[in-house]
Amino acid sequence: MTRTELQSFLSSKMEGLEFGEETTQYLTVTAPKEKLRELMFLLKDTEELAFDYMFSLTAVDWFPKSLGVIYHLESTKFRHILVVHVNTGNREDDVTIDTVSDIYPTAHFHEREAYDLMGIIFDGHSDLRRLFLTDDWVGHPLRKDYVDEANMIVK
């Protein structure tokens, strides 16, 4: 599907999606976090879409508002690409997002990484532990307000 076809198809199937500007590299869609799993099921299981390959999952700190997760999806059949944005609530106390690791198994590791480095809690993840850092590490280093005077020499 082309970009415009994708956009009209998605907006006909689901309400509440916000599409990014036309100048972006790939079609970008922002979903409310309650609808994330519904959207992912739709993207993966609909025959015309067939987004079966999640090649990247990025956690972002939208300082000072919220944390966010960006999913990059591709269809190995049609080769179209879609970028899904989801944001958490307040980045101080509401950092939960539903997991997609049962829909895309590759997200299992990516979500653990996002939890480790950014502190996003994935609701329903079967094994949410730190992946890179030791268990006794304090804080989540990729956050913008992370300070570590013992280990970091800031230039």
């Binding site: 999640m54 970028v83 990516h110 992946l131």
Partner: protein
């Protein structure tokens, strides 16, 4: 999972084994916590981070030109492709059109790097299975590529040859001659590799039927590169989203349907031939022209999101840049092929023996700094 012993009265118990972080067969500092019953693996739990160097955090404070050298240290065996991914992302975002000459040289360098990486993989794979000779053969040929690189780039491993807007230097006058000499030599050496290892019955028995990845699993777990092509999935970024001069060359995407470790092995062996084909098509036709275009001293990307994927020696390497218009990215994420390939390790090695795990890991070709970043 049942025990292998048919004697029902014998009670067995699961126990844990730590493999790594310093293990000669772990290709670096990967630590695997194995739950085993006797020799049979029940669960593999990778414990990463022993070489987690916080490169993504560092990138948030570096300029775009500085970032390039950090990508060398991610997957040091495909350093040129990693450099290229960042440079392409920046060039696309800035709307810089690089000269044809740059594209050709980049492609040749890519394939040379891929050859060097596959040679090293082959040598080490043989060593993991127990054949020490392969190591010597592979490094003999690898040194030839290193010499070519050194002459043009000035470095043997971490090349840092690409910059946004082109290349750091022009190629050395000897470059074309020496590449052709190497190809001539390696055309003869590759059949030697096959005679030595590919047909060896012990080697085959160690790999065939071990670590089977089905098509569906490979896509679902995000496996890419030669590891996925061994399961028959067409995922070559060079074909699907061509960059540099890959749309100008003819080459086959090597696909084997089987899905076990031996098929992944054969994919890489055949890919080496394809790489040589690509180089041969380009080496005599490098167009004249500049080797770089002028870029601002301090690159500031327009606000937005940019993704660039390239085919590294291990699979799909991606760079995702979120820019807020400043001199350094707001967030930069590397999509490393090894990270996704590792996620399937638990699934495919259950039920196999510990020695098979070593073979599986070899056939997936991990580079740990690429996984840990």
């Amino acid at each position: 999972m049942t025990t292998t012993d048919t004697n029902t009265e014998l009670k067995t118990q699961e126990y844990l084994i730590n493999m790594g972080p310093q293990h000669p067969a772990a290709h670096g500092v990967l630590r695997l916590i194995l739950t085993v019953d006797g020799e049979i693996i029940h669960k593999v739990d990778p414990d990463l981070g022993y070489i987690h160097r916080s490169i993504e955090k560092m990138c948030e404070r570096d300029t775009y030109k500085q970032i390039v050298h950090l990508t060398d240290r991610l997957d040091y065996l495909s350093s040129h492709m990693n450099n290229e991914a960042v440079c392409l992302a920046v060039e696309n975002a800035m709307g810089i059109e690089v000269p044809e000459r740059v594209k050709y040289i980049r492609t040749i360098m890519d394939e040379l790097t891929r050859l060097a990486s596959h040679q090293l993989w082959w040598g080490v794979m043989g060593m993991d299975i127990g054949a020490l000779t392969t190591f010597m053969y592979a490094f003999r040929d690898r040194e030839m590529i290193n010499d070519i690189m050194e002459e043009t780039v000035g470095a043997r491993l971490t090349m840092n040859y690409n910059i946004p807007g082109g290349l750091m230097f022009d190629i050395h006058p000897n470059f074309q001659r020496r590449v052709k000499e190497f190809i001539k030599h390696f055309r003869k050496a590759l059949p030697e590799y096959n005679t030595l290892l590919s047909g060896n019955i012990i080697f085959k028995k160690r790999l065939q039927g071990i670590g089977y990845i089905s098509k569906e699993d490979a896509v679902a777990y995000g496996v890419s590169g030669p590891s996925a092509r061994g399961s028959g999935i067409s995922c070559d970024v060079r074909k699907i989203h061509p960059y540099s001069a890959y749309d100008k060359v003819e080459f086959n995407e090597v696909l084997i349907e089987g899905g076990d470790s031996y098929d992944r092995y054969m994919v890489r062996m055949k890919e080496m031939e394809e790489s040589m084909n690509i180089i041969e098509q380009l080496i005599d036709n490098i167009p004249e022209g500049d080797y770089q275009v002028k870029t601002p001293a301090l690159i500031k990307l327009p606000k937005g999101e940019y993704y660039q994927k390239v085919e590294s020696a291990r699979g799909e390497f991606g760079v995702f840049i979120i820019s807020d218009g400043k001199k350094s990215p707001y967030r930069l994420k590397f999509r490393s092929p090894g990270f996704s390939n590792l996620s399937i390790l638990d699934k495919i090695s259950r039920g196999h023996k510990i020695a098979d795990l070593v073979a599986i890991m070899s056939s997936l070709d991990f580079v740990i700094p690429d996984i840990d970043r």
